[in-house]
């Protein structure tokens, strides 16, 4: 029944929304003020697409009735990932994980490499994993994805339960979820992330009831529920398959790139090296022939390992000839010196360079070919060892700081299925101060935009159209910062300057706009089934500087290789008083909004402005200010006070 009403409201939203936006584009634009008229209609179109994607999500909302009993022999590794979190917190989670009822092994994945934690793990018979020796300091560590990838190589459970250091699991978390894997195509079961240290009014918007509810349930209906980093169970087989596919893809890509660059590199080397030495020219000829041959073999679909091995063998032989020639020349020189009898050459006469020395001098690190850097770089890249990574197989995606979403998308593209199990089975700790919360939101947004720019879901092979749009919907919401700026600017511009982005605020406008707005709000109410969504709506507008920063830094990172300025979210509260400086842009905007409202009313009183326009825009300002007001509470929030919360709850009951 709810499904019928949800779908009805979705249809009504789309009809009224498309009707309104079409009219806006075709008949309402005030071209004289195009500089605000266009941004506003684009922002409104953005919002319509956003709400249409939301409608599509809840269209297939899937309410699951629970999993069948789990296979009793399923082996499980429980991973608790930590970097710098409080050791007590990690141990609380680890000990709770140990008490999970289904047979399993519990592992602490300590990226902080802390001896104290190691000792505690041993004392409580918990597994303890740190990075293997393969992770040398010159190789990328890939943060949490690297931590998990490292642990995957050192464990062997069929399934993996991933928990952040603060997520205390219920003992039945596996019993309630493992049964979904009876379906051999299921690779992931995600459960909600819920925070136990958040007061009822949730000043920092930590709980995400809309996301861990209708949105994930809707995505589930499209087989697109995705991995959110914690409180999820993954099938090792699927992850390893992903890692292997990624390895083959990256290796082939790097070999193709190297071969494509080889001719230019050889040309460059011919210019730089001393071509009077015929042997050097011969070696380069040999390298060129070998790479051309490799190119042909690659086109013919020969195995990569054999292609690269043959190139290496051939080049090594040529290099050895070169070294042998050097040594022979040297030997001849020594003999001549001895023949001159001008001086004593050594205690044992003329020394002879041994064969193993020739071989050693021919090896990659001492090879004369090393002098021709461009050629050496090509030859190094013609390998299957993936020397630029600590381990060749990287099951969790490393293209983004939110490895979870990227990994899930690749799984779906390979045909795996996912499940969203809507029941709280772990209790975590949310940030308790604005600064930490902003860092966390920034990271999520950056990661999501990285995935959009690196592996745009709309063009990923293997994904169904519904899955593409479900991933895209999440990414689309993170572009809201730009729309928010326009929504703040438009009423300010009208109230201060009297410039209206629409031709007139007439019956035509209201008859189209109001139904859309009303149906839109009904949609959230029906789809949300009474869950509080207002906090989320406030933050999606009020955190506009964070969203914009995320988009610009992620774009610079993906396109120009700049660092993201990435920080691990601290789990402990940051000390210090209220930090108003964190929301400076929002304060400036709020002051401008308030000033604009006052000026607008004065302009109305002096007959400079119309009553209707002023009324609509003042109402708009009030709405914007109410949205922003959440930040005041966020700045003043002093952290979670468990005793006070219990008292309030008791009083209410």
């Amino acid at each position: 029944m709810t499904r019928f009403w949800t779908r009805l409201v979705v249809v009504l939203t789309i009809i009224t929304g498309v009707n309104y936006i079409t009219w806006r584009w075709l008949a309402s634009l005030n071209w004289e003020a195009w500089w605000i008229a266009l941004p506003l209609v684009i922002a409104e179109t953005y919002s319509l697409i956003d709400v249409m994607l939301f409608g599509m999500t809840v269209w297939r909302l899937k309410v699951r009735k629970g999993a069948p009993p789990p296979p009793p022999d399923a082996t499980v590794d429980v991973f608790i990932t930590t970097y710098n979190e409080d050791i007590d917190m990690v141990m609380t989670t680890a000990l709770a994980a140990q008490k999970i009822r289904h047979p399993h092994s519990t592992w602490i994945l300590d990226d902080g490499n802390r001896p104290e934690l190691k000792a505690l793990a041993e004392e409580h018979r918990l597994g303890y994993v740190t990075r293997s020796d393969d992770w040398t300091p010159d190789l990328p560590r890939h943060a949490k994805a690297g931590n998990l990838n490292n642990a995957l190589m050192q464990t062997h459970g069929e399934f993996l339960l991933i928990l952040d250091a603060d997520q205390i699991p219920e003992p039945d978390i596996l019993e309630k979820t493992l049964g979904y894997f009876n379906n051999r195509r299921v690779a992931l079961v995600q459960t909600p992330q819920y925070f136990s240290n958040v007061p009822a009014d949730d000043p920092l918007g930590s709980q995400a009831p809309l996301f861990y509810g209708p949105i994930q349930q809707g995505k589930d209906g499209w087989n697109a529920a995705f991995f959110c980093g914690s409180n999820a169970i993954l099938r090792r087989e699927a992850l390893m398959q992903l890692g292997l596919a990624g390895y083959v893809k990256e290796t082939e890509k790097s070999i193709r790139r190297a071969l494509a660059a080889s001719q230019a590199a050889i040309r460059k080397a011919r210019k730089s090296a001393d071509m009077d030495t015929p042997l050097v020219a011969e070696v380069l000829d040999e390298v060129e022939a070998a790479t051309r041959h490799a190119q042909d073999e690659l086109e013919a679909g020969q195995p990569l390992s054999e292609i690269t091995y043959r190139v290496r063998r051939r080049v090594d032989a040529a290099v050895q000839t070169l070294v042998q020639a050097d040594v022979e020349a040297l030997q001849a020189d020594l003999e001549e010196i001895a023949a001159m009898e001008l001086a004593y050459v050594g205690e044992a006469g003329v020394p002879v360079v041994a064969d193993d020395a020739v071989q050693r001098m021919s090896r990659r690190d001492w090879s004369p070919l090393g002098a021709l850097e461009s050629v050496q770089a090509v030859l190094d890249a013609l390998s299957v060892e993936r020397n630029d990574e600590a381990q060749p197989v990287m099951p969790l995606a490393t293209i983004s700081v939110t490895e979870d979403m990227a990994t899930a998308m690749r799984m779906h593209a390979m045909g795996w299925q996912s499940v969203y199990h809507h029941e709280i089975l772990a209790y975590g700790l949310a940030p308790e101060d604005l600064k930490t919360m902003l860092t966390q939101r920034l990271r999520w947004a950056q990661g999501t935009i990285q995935v959009l720019l690196r592996e745009n879901p709309l063009v990923q092979k293997g994904l169904k159209i519904g899955q593409r749009l479900m991933y895209f919907a999440t990414m689309w919401t993170y572009l809201s910062g730009y729309a928010a700026v326009v929504y703040f600017a438009a009423p300010i511009i009208y109230l201060l300057l009297g410039i209206l982005p629409v031709t007139s605020l007439s019956w035509d406008f209201f008859v189209r706009f109001i139904p859309f707005m009303v149906v839109n709000q009904i949609l959230f109410a029906v789809a949300g089934r009474g869950i509080p969504t207002w906090r989320g709506q406030q933050y999606s507008l009020a955190l506009f500087p964070t969203w914009i920063k995320a988009c610009s830094t992620a774009a610079k990172n993906v396109w120009f290789g700049r660092p993201l300025g990435f920080a691990v979210t601290p789990k402990a509260r940051q000390s210090g008083g209220p930090s108003w400086s964190l929301i400076r842009p929002q304060i400036v905007v709020s002051v401008l909004l308030a000033v604009a409202a006052v000026v607008g009313i004065i302009r109305l009183a002096t007959g400079l402005a119309e009553p209707l326009g002023t009324l609509v825009n003042v109402a708009w300002v009030i709405f914007d200010l109410v949205v922003m007001s959440v930040l005041v509470r966020a700045v003043l929030y002093k952290g979670y006070d468990a005793a006070a919360e219990t008292a309030v709850a008791e009083k209410e009951s």
């Binding site: 070169l322 070294v323 205690e347 360079v353 001098m361 001492w366």
Partner: protein
């Protein structure tokens, strides 16, 4: 690779900075030949700033030794870095060329 030289009281000191490899080896040979032609036949190659040497570099060094001997002088090396020392040991060239600690020491006994 950069080369420079300085005529000292009893020898000429050649300094080689960088990597003595296939590309730079012929240049060393040329450079030392010129120094010899300029009248110095007692040469010390100061390898303090030579971080790396391959078989071509080693060949060039012996070629220079030959040239110095042919003109009635000698060539010695000084201040070798670890990798160069390994190359010399591995090829037993350390039996031919003694690596002196400094350029001054190289000809100090004769």
């Amino acid at each position: 690779m950069e080369f420079s030289y300085e005529v000292r009281d009893s020898f000429a000191e050649v300094r080689a900075e960088g990597r003595l490899n296939m590309v730079s080896a012929p240049k060393l040979r040329e450079f030392v030949t010129d120094v010899i032609a300029g009248g110095s036949n007692r040469i010390v190659v100061n390898l303090e700033k030579t971080a790396f040497m391959d078989s071509s570099g080693l060949g060039a060094l012996i070629g220079c030794l030959k040239a110095a001997r042919q003109s009635g002088g000698d060539l010695r090396i000084a201040a070798v870095q670890p990798q160069v020392k390994m190359v010399l040991q591995l090829t037993s060239m350390d039996k031919v060329l003694t690596a002196y600690d400094s350029a001054e020491e190289a000809f100090s006994n004769d």
